[in-house]
Amino acid sequence: MQTALHAHEREHISTFSRQKRRETLVGYSFVTPAVLLLIFFLVLPFLLAVVFGFTKFNLLRPDKIHFTGLDNYKLLFTDGLFYKSLWNTLYFTVTVVPVQSGVALMLALLVNNSLKLRNVFRIAYFSPVVTSMTVIAILWISLYNPNEGLINSALHFFGISNQPFLRSSSQAMNSIIFMSVWQAAGYQMMIFLAGLQGISKDLYEASSIDGASKLQQLRYITIPSLYNVTVFVLTITTIQAVKLFVQPYIMTNGGPENSTRTLALLIYQQGFQFRNAGYASAISVIFFLIVVLISFSMKKFLRDK
C-alpha cells in the first residue's frame, strides 16, 4: 500500500516536473527570436556606444580604434557647440512641453462633449499627427517663406510686415516650436480625452447640485482627476522633445548660427559627417543619461490611484 502510494506520488511528481520542464523549454523558444534580435540590434549597440565613448576612431575605419580614456568627455565639456546644442535642446523641451500639453488639454476639453460635429473636430486636430514629420517640415518651409509664404500673407492682413522666420537666428527655433506644437498636440489630446472620459459623471452631477460653476468643476474635479494622465503626457512629450532631429535637419540644418542645432543633430553630424565616432558616442551617452534622468524623475510624480 505504502509503496504503491510512493510510486503514484513519484509518477505525479515526475509528470509535474516534466510538464514544468516542457513549459520552460517552450517559454525559451517563444522568447528567443525577439530576445536575440534585441540583443544584436539594441543591447549590443548600446554597450558599444558606452565603450566607444572612451575611444577615438573614424567611422569608416573601425579597425584603427584606440582608447583615449576620458578625452572625449573632457573635450565635450569645453566644446561650445555642445553647450549650445544642449541649451537649444533644453530650450525647445522646456517651451514645447507645457505649451503643447496645454493646447492638447484645451482641445480635449473642446471636443469632450455632445456636439454633433465633435468627431469632425477631433479628426481635424488629429490629422497633422498622422502626417509624417518630413512632409510637415517641407510644407512649413513653404509656409514660413520670408517673401512669398502663406503665413506672411496672413500677417499682412493684420498689418504686420514680413518676418524672416527660419532665416533668422532669433526666430528659427520658435518657428520650429510653433510647428511642432501644431503637429503633435492632437496626439496628447487623444490621451487627455481618454482620461476625461474616465472621470465619473456622478462627480459633475453632485457638484452642480451643490451649485458649483463650470469653472469650479474644471478646477476642483477635472484637473485633479487628470493628475496621472497629465504626468504621463508630460513624460512622453518630454522624451519626444529631447530627441528633436527631423525638423532642424530638414528646415534649417542647425542654423542660422547654430540657433537650431540640437543634441540629436550634433550626434548625427559628429558621427556621420565629421566621422568622429568616438566623440559622437560620448555625446550619445550624455544624451541617454538625460533621457533616463527625465524618465525617472517623472515616475516620481506618479501617484497611486
Binding site: 517563444f30 566607444f52 473642446l110 465633435r118 502663406l150 532631429f245 559622437a280 541617454f288 533621457v291
Partner: protein
C-alpha cells in the same frame, strides 16, 4: 439659455481651432492641384485655399522627374515586412511573458521595460557599425531586421494577453494541442484588436522613417518615400506645385490606413496612456 450659450461658444472655438489645424494641410492639397504661378498670385486672398482651376500637371511633372511610385513601393514593402514579421515575433514573446512560467521570464520582462527608454539616437552609430560589419549597408536587411523586435510592442501584447483567462488555455492543452497550436488557434483569434493596434502604431512610426534610411541607403534603389521627397525638395529647379504634389501623394496612403484602422490607433495611444 446658459446651455445654448455654452454650445455656441464651444462651436466658435472649435471652428477657429480646426481651421488653424487644417489650413496648412488644405493649402498643401489645393496648391498641388494648381498651376505654379497661381499658387503665388492667390497667396494673399482666400483663393489660396480654393482649387479654382484644377490640374494634375504638377503630379505628372513631378512623377517624370523622380520615381515616386518606386519610392512608394519601397516604403510600402519594407514597412509592411517590419510590421508583419514584428507581429509574429513580438506577439509570441509577449505571450510567453504573460502566460508561461519559466525561470528568467521576470528578468526578461524587466529588461524589455528598461530597454524601452533607450533612445534610438543614442545607438545610431554603433548600430550602423553592426550593420556595416554584416555587410548589410544598402540592403533591405538594414532597413528591416533591426526593427522587427520592438520592446513597446512586446509590452503591449503582454498586457493584452494577461487578461485572457487561463481556463481557456488549460482546456486547450488538455485537448492535447501543443503550445504553438494553442497560441495560433485560440489566442490569436481572440486578440484581433491588439494585433491591429500594434500594426498601425508600428506602421505609422516606420512610415515616417527618415534618419536611419539616410544612413543605410546610398542609391535610389532602396530609397524610401520620405527620403525621396526630401531629395526632391532640394533638387533644382524648385516648383512649389510639384513639391506639394509629392507631399500630398506621400500623405494619402497613411491617411487611408488611418481612416481604416482609426479605432485601433486611438486605442493604442490611449491604452498606453492609461496603463503607462
Amino acid at each position: 439659455m446658459r446651455n445654448t450659450r455654452t454650445k455656441v461658444l464651444l462651436y466658435v472655438l472649435n471652428i477657429i481651432m480646426s481651421l488653424l489645424f487644417i489650413i496648412p494641410l488644405l493649402w498643401m492639397v489645393v496648391s498641388s492641384l494648381k498651376p505654379e504661378n497661381q499658387i503665388f498670385s492667390d497667396l494673399s486672398s482666400l483663393k489660396s485655399l480654393l482649387p479654382l482651376h484644377i490640374t494634375l500637371d504638377n503630379y505628372r511633372m513631378a512623377f517624370e522627374r523622380i520615381p515616386m511610385m518606386k519610392f512608394l513601393f519601397n516604403s510600402l514593402f519594407y514597412v509592411s515586412v517590419i510590421c508583419i514579421s514584428g507581429l509574429g515575433v513580438n506577439s509570441i514573446c509577449g505571450y510567453a511573458l504573460a502566460k508561461l512560467r519559466f525561470r528568467g521570464s521576470e528578468f526578461i520582462l524587466v529588461c524589455i521595460i528598461a530597454l524601452m527608454i533607450v533612445p534610438f539616437e543614442s545607438i545610431l552609430m554603433p548600430l550602423y557599425l553592426v550593420i556595416n560589419t554584416l555587410h548589410w549597408v544598402n540592403t533591405w536587411f538594414a532597413l528591416i531586421v533591426p526593427f522587427i523586435a520592438n520592446c513597446f510592442s512586446i509590452f503591449m501584447f503582454r498586457q493584452f494577453f494577461m487578461d485572457i483567462p487561463n481556463e481557456i488555455l488549460e482546456s486547450a492543452s488538455i485537448d492535447g494541442s501543443g503550445p504553438l497550436k494553442t497560441f495560433a488557434s485560440i489566442v490569436v483569434p481572440l486578440s484581433g484588436p491588439v494585433f491591429a493596434t500594434v500594426f498601425i502604431l508600428d506602421f505609422i512610426s516606420h512610415w515616417g522613417d527618415f534618419m536611419w534610411p539616410i544612413l543605410v541607403t546610398t542609391g535610389e534603389s532602396l530609397r524610401n518615400i520620405q527620403l525621396g521627397i526630401q531629395t526632391f525638395f532640394t533638387l533644382p529647379p524648385i516648383y512649389y506645385g510639384q513639391i506639394m504634389a509629392t507631399l500630398t501623394f506621400t500623405t494619402v496612403p497613411i491617411i487611408v490606413l488611418f481612416l481604416l484602422l482609426q479605432k485601433y490607433y486611438v486605442q493604442g495611444i490611449t491604452s498606453a496612456g492609461i496603463k503607462g
